[in-house]
Symmetry: C2
């Protein structure tokens, strides 16, 4: 294996290419990138850091990791209703393994190209594996979807299905046994989440509040409730879920399924609220995007989140994943 | 010591505050920040990652580290002639040590406030200590100072003094012995570099090319030469230097001094080129900023960098610091 002579070459070789977007006046290769923002828009920016052993297992397929590293950031933009434009990637790597980096790049770039995201900056260094992406998107001025707009009477929705990524973690750690097919499906959800970019863009003017479910539904929905100073009641049976989790919910692994659905992170679906008058528009949008939009409950004026499981009101909610919790 | 209950609280407690800049429509606390760019400007963005044990020693004073973490990014903007506006900070920390984080924040925030930089995003996670800052600045459209504009006949300049940070590393690793006062000075240069923001802004329209000296003068100046497809000849005796390095250059530690001056990283001074007609303007600028601007050589049309040490033309240049070099 040939090794690059220098950090500079490493970045150049792996990530530089002439930018296709004329808004990129200067891309990778100077002290900083120079970008022309679109008149009439606001910038939407976010940063995420992924650490080996915490956010992904050592030995994770590098191509899937490249995808996921960008996907989790795109998901933040989706939650704001923003159109992604530019990304910056900083990475610490334990060695300069060409095969690993080539595969990582392929996964990162395939997703970037799908959404016309230009990589405009990078920094590579040696260290315990750590990947940090900053994403820059745009929205027409004043149209970003915030966490603080939910109103009593609004419906609460979740896109796609919940809990599959957490189910994969439970299976990989031996807590639950899945068939090979079910494990493969869950693991794909964990390792290759799909950012809901089109959905976010189409929710501008419809959703009153939104975020992406990265740490678990109850914790994340809780942020909307706190920011909006409202409460909500949701129904476990209304939570959109895979056939596997649906079956588990009826059997002796009911509690694990419940934890995956309510507290499982890493699904990167959107949770959003919308006034009831948009129900027909949202049904049409779900059809247009071929993406289920599950109505899971409603916003009310009583602070806090109430979760119903059939006739039972859950007294304790499974805890969301929390990096610094004791 | 109380520990924060959650990652979310940790970020909120340490870094959130109501933004002072009305351009920050939404700051920390949503999925992403929403920012209003200034009409008539372009964005200038850069990312830097600092890893413990590589970019800073374990046990480095956290307040100085907070300063440096932001300073190295501001330095990239200075090299582009940009005015800093917004920063995003992602950090992996081995534990949630409140005292460490409070000191780190104090250093970061003091520098941010000096340049009216708003912290608009953050991500905190547990892991080997790693700090990643993305900086966003602005320049009037078309005025960014790039690496590729140097022309034969241009003068080559360096701001401040070179080599002090590398001298501190040499002293701390036992390679050279310094007096307490000299060590303290060098260590301050290593741990608390001053980004040359005002200089960068004032160089718009004057400098033909610029970058910041982060990896060592010869390597960094080499980037200007490659990008501009020119060469240069510089003089060791013209390199701006501290009294300590000046004395070493005359004595038996000449070679160490030479390496610090030519290949020492982490000084974060600006190296720039400018047409000769700007000499008087630059002398006035040095006086106005109370910052020496040393003219160290000239650009010519012969590819490569030539370094003169008195009457001698150096045949081999000390190598710049390189994270992935073998």
């Amino acid at each position: 294996m040939t090794k690059p002579r220098s950090e500079f070459e490493l970045i150049e070789r792996h990530f530089a290419r002439p930018p296709r977007d004329p808004a990129v006046r200067v891309g990778v290769g100077d002290d900083a990138a120079v970008l022309a923002p679109t008149p009439g828009t606001e910038l939407v920016v976010s940063v995420d850091m992924l650490v080996e052993g915490r956010h992904f297992f050592a030995g994770t397929d590098p191509q899937r990791l490249g995808h996921k590293t960008l996907a989790v950031n795109l998901s933040d933009l989706a939650a704001m209703g923003a159109t992604p434009r530019f990304a910056l990637l900083a990475g610490a790597l334990p060695d300069s393994d060409d095969a690993w980096l080539t595969a990582f790049r392929a996964g990162f770039r395939a997703l970037a190209e799908r959404y016309a995201v230009e990589l405009v900056g990078g920094d590579t260094t040696r260290g315990p594996r750590n990947l940090c992406v900053t994403i820059i998107g745009e929205v027409p001025t004043g149209t970003a979807i915030l966490r603080r707009g939910a109103q009593p009477g609004d419906d609460v929705y979740v896109s796609g299905t919940l809990g599959d990524a957490a189910l994969a973690v439970a299976a990989l750690s031996g807590e639950v046994v899945l068939s090979n097919g079910d494990l493969a499906h869950a693991q794909r959800r964990l390792e290759s989440p799909e950012p809901r970019i089109e959905l976010g863009e189409r929710l501008r003017g419809i959703a009153s509040a939104a975020l992406d479910v990265s740490d678990g539904l109850t914790g994340d929905l809780g942020h909307i409730l706190e920011c909006s100073r409202v409460g909500a009641t949701i129904e476990v049976r209304a939570l959109p879920r895979s056939a596997t989790l649906d079956a588990m919910l009826e059997g002796r692994t009911h509690d694990i399924a419940l934890r995956c659905l309510l507290a499982g992170g890493d699904d990167y679906e959107l949770c959003f609220t919308a006034p009831q008058r948009h129900r027909i528009a949202l049904a049409g949008l779900a059809q247009a995007l071929a993406l289920p939009l599950g109505r899971i409950g409603a916003i009310d004026a009583i602070p806090g989140l109430r979760v119903r499981d059939g006739n039972e009101l859950l007294s304790a909610l499974p805890r969301a994943f929390d990096h610094f919790a004791e």
